[in-house]
């Protein structure tokens, strides 16, 4: 049920993000979701793609520093309070979210939220206990 996220180190330089999307496009990689966290000097690009293993290999072949990280993907009803409930559950158990980002699903009226949580297993347990559906890589890649 873990989602494989690819993270890439990028300097804050013109054209670097395009360099990444360019090598991936050429090899037929489809980026499902993307989030860029940055500082003044550098950024970390986080992506959910249709083939994590292949993406990692392509990036490494092109001299990018990249790694695979396990994240949790949750389907959230696209209505007020949807996200709040989940955050509340995690907070109650003192589970800290390192970062998160969201995107909207095309085929349904749901949003998908990606969480990076250090206490990964504990977080999954809490979410499952509360009947919150976790998405699998298969599902996510086929969206």
């Amino acid at each position: 049920m873990d989602i494989r996220q690819i993270s890439v180190f990028l300097e804050n330089k013109k054209g670097r993000l395009a360099d990444v999307t360019n090598v991936l496009a050429k090899q037929g990689i489809n980026i499902r979701a993307l989030f860029l966290a940055d500082t003044q000097d550098f950024g970390v690009l986080r992506m959910i793609v249709n083939d994590a293993g292949k993406t990692l290999q392509i990036l490494k072949d092109n001299n990018f520093v990249a790694q695979e990280t396990s994240v949790v993907a949750v389907e959230v009803e696209d209505k007020p309070g949807g996200l709040n409930r989940i955050l509340h559950l995690l907070d109650e158990k003192d589970i800290n979210i390192e970062y998160m980002y969201a995107f909207v699903e095309k085929k349904a009226d749901n949003a998908i939220v990606i969480f990076k949580i250090d206490e990964h297993e504990a977080a999954k347990k809490v979410l499952l206990e509360n009947k919150i559906g976790l998405l699998t890589t298969d599902v996510l890649e086929k969206l």
């Binding site: 180190f9 990028l10 300097e11 970390v44």
Partner: protein, 432 residues
């Protein structure tokens, strides 16, 4: 103004004879009292009796910074420890610091050569000297302090930093002579300008500036901005601190106090003495120092000597300002930094690979040093805070060794140029 006419204008023949006598006395003294020198001389097959004139200095072995570090702290002491009245050390940025231990007479010597230095800027007892060199183990602060005391000038021991206060004191006490590093004098000029201070209206007339390399372009800028005459002074902890040489009003090379600090220019590869005017490594012997005398110390500064008579009337030999180094030492804000030290620190950090570059720049008026470190799989994290933490951790480790603040910047893999030969580690953007 010439402080000591007798020594500073002495005829060459008489000066050479004096240097010879002093060398002979020095060598006898160190052979008897310093095992380090005795061993070196024995190895070279030289006895004190072999030294009869200043020319014989060529037969003596050299002393290096490494030698001086190996015998830390008191291995070069030529007098009983109780005769030491003051100690200074180098910043120790390259490892163990170098110790300069002064006897009462050594302090008197320091006062004398610093009085000569201050007199190069026409400093008299009527002057107000604002001493913005740092006080402490660093020799700059107290060196100037002693010289000003000898002259009887009004000495303001303000030390470095706190620029607003420097500007206030400069106005309130009507400073006429400023002593600090050249880069700091420019910083003072900039801050003063921001505060709306008109330096032309102040009595400040001369700056005695040293402890880091600078250029004629920078001199011009300092002179225009502060409305002063900027004079270059030179010294090093291993010899005495400031007071080794300084420019006179003609600013055509630095007059060396050669009656006490004997200079030579050698070929850094062969050790052979080079003729006047030829570029090579500057070497000094302290002819009269008692506490920690130094025989043929290799400064690693590249320069040449000028013996043509100077218009100021002094007869002492002049050295051109340092034209470079035989090593890759950088001087950042008065602190000596070797790229190899930075590399050593980086290599102790888990996950850091030997791909780095050092960018030295002068932002505003102060030197800055940026260390670019290449990202790799072991250092990488998908969390920004971990990457920022890594930068901070490297900065702290560098500070612990170098004693100066650096800015560490993580850069992409392969973004630092790979070279087949000697890697170009340093990009110096300062216009020196």
């Amino acid at each position: 103004m010439i402080w000591n006419k007798e020594y500073e204008t002495m005829e060459r023949e008489k000066l050479s004879a004096l240097q010879g006598e002093r060398l002979k006395e020095l060598i006898t003294r160190v052979y008897e009292n310093v095992p380090f020198y005795r061993k070196r001389m024995d190895e070279a097959g030289i006895k004190p009796a072999d030294i009869n004139s200043i020319k014989d200095i060529a037969r003596l072995p050299f002393t290096t910074k490494l030698d001086m570090r190996d015998v830390y702290p008191y291995g070069l002491l030529a007098v009983p420890e109780e005769d030491i009245v003051e100690v200074h050390t180098s910043s120790g940025t390259t490892g163990t610091p170098v110790v300069d231990a002064y006897t009462h007479n050594d302090i008197e010597l320091w006062k004398e050569v610093m009085a000569r230095t201050l007199a190069m800027g026409d400093t008299t007892k009527k002057d107000i000297v604002q001493n913005a060199y740092g006080y402490g183990l660093f020799t700059g602060g107290l060196g100037v302090h002693y010289g000003a005391m000898k002259i009887g000038a009004n000495l303001i021991p303000i030390s470095g930093g706190n620029t607003q206060r420097q500007l206030q004191v400069m106005q309130d006490f009507k400073t006429t002579v400023l002593t600090c590093t050249p880069s700091y004098s420019l910083f003072v000029a900039e801050e003063g300008k921001k505060a709306g201070l008109d330096f032309a209206s102040l009595p400040l007339r001369v700056g005695l500036l040293g402890a880091e390399p600078w250029s004629d372009g920078m001199r011009k800028e300092i002179e225009e901005k502060l409305h002063i005459s900027a004079i270059d002074i030179y010294g090093l902890t291993e010899i005495i601190g400031p007071g080794v040489s300084a420019e006179c009003e003609y600013k055509d090379g630095l007059h060396i106090n050669e009656d006490v600090f004997y200079p030579e220019i050698i070929d850094p590869d062969t050790g052979k003495i080079l003729p006047d005017g030829e570029k090579g490594e500057l070497v000094f012997t302290t002819l009269t120092k008692e506490g920690t005398p130094v025989i043929r110390f290799r400064t690693r500064d590249i320069t040449y000597l000028m013996r043509e008579k100077c218009q100021c009337g002094r007869n002492t030999v002049r050295m051109h300002r340092s034209l470079g180094r035989t090593d890759d030492m950088l001087i950042i804000r008065g602190v000596n930094v070797f790229p190899s030290q930075i590399e050593e620190v980086l290599m102790t950090i888990q996950g850091v690979e030997p791909h780095y570059q050092i960018v030295v720049d002068r932002k505003g008026q102060l030197d800055s040093i940026e260390v670019q470190v290449e990202m790799n799989d072991r250092l990488f994290s998908d969390e920004i805070k971990n990457l920022s933490k890594a930068e901070k951790m490297i900065e702290e480790k560098l500070y612990a060794t170098l004693n100066i603040h650096t800015v560490v910047k993580l850069v992409e893999t392969n973004s630092i140029e790979r070279s087949l030969g000697k890697a170009k580690r340093v990009i110096d953007r300062r216009q020196l």
